[in-house]
């Protein structure tokens, strides 16, 4: 395994940054174009994962394990966030019988 991964590192750092930027932008676009609350939530997960990958890349690039520990904490936080967020979505569905976020405009009044 070590010999396998020592040879691989010929990919420029820029390509990793651009890959993560593309995935992050896709997540932002997903939040903007969809009206289903669950799909919006999934787009947020996409953005979180893009940032996780970039942190890992920089951690490997700098030779510093702190970045990977941060990614571990972000994953624990994402699990908590998903649990609370999905229960809020279930509550919204019980109260309004739909997952359309435009229904939540009512919160203004």
């Amino acid at each position: 395994m070590n010999t396998l991964t020592q040879n691989i590192q010929t990919i420029p750092l820029n390509h990793y940054i651009i890959l993560c930027a593309i995935i992050f932008a896709i997540g932002v676009t997903g939040v903007l174009i969809r009206r289903n609350a669950i799909v919006i939530f999934m787009s947020v997960e996409l953005m979180l994962n893009a940032v996780n990958l970039l942190l890992t890349v920089f951690s490997a690039y700098r030779g510093d394990a702190t970045g990977q520990v941060f990614v571990f904490f972000i994953m624990a936080l994402a699990a908590a966030e998903v649990a609370v967020g999905l229960s809020i979505i279930v509550m919204i569905y019980r109260n309004t019988n739909s997952l359309d976020i435009n229904v939540l405009n009512r919160l203004k009044h």
């Binding site: 040879n7 420029p12 750092l13 990793y16 992050f24 394990a65 229960s87």
Partner: protein, 175 residues
Amino acid sequence: MRAKDFVIIQMSLFYFIAFLSILFALLVIFSKNPVHSVLYLILTFFTFTIHYILLNAQFLAVVNFIVYMGAIMVLFLFVIMLLNLNKDTEPVKKAVVKIASVVGGGCLLATIVASVKALGISEPVVLKTADLGLVKHLGKVLFGEFLLPFEVSSLLLFSAMVGAVLLATKDKSNA
């Protein structure tokens, strides 16, 4: 000769997996059925796991596999099945709003890419310490330097669990 072939194979593997990540991420946000979105999201997370393995971050690869592809995706699928949303009856936004959103996302991407180009760093990612992402090394850092945040995160997970149970149970007094 053999090492050079190896490098070429692994570079092309990276670009192939990167292409798959972007493709599945696009499919997540553009598929009409929420169940299909979740399944494409699982595939996206799987490609991310392969990226972690390519970076020799084995611990993160396993955690990503278990936490994201196991726990979080099961949670998403359960909620979708529970709410009986596996049908294509989602109201869609107006075309103008959609085009504006895509343009907005593209502008964000263009800004980031342009700033990366302006930065002009393009050295390859070289693993200075090969065993950086192994459990043995990460465990020492996690339970040494980051012991307090680790314990606090257990508190966070506990409060999230209590909050989720509190929110998702039916309110008997109102019903």
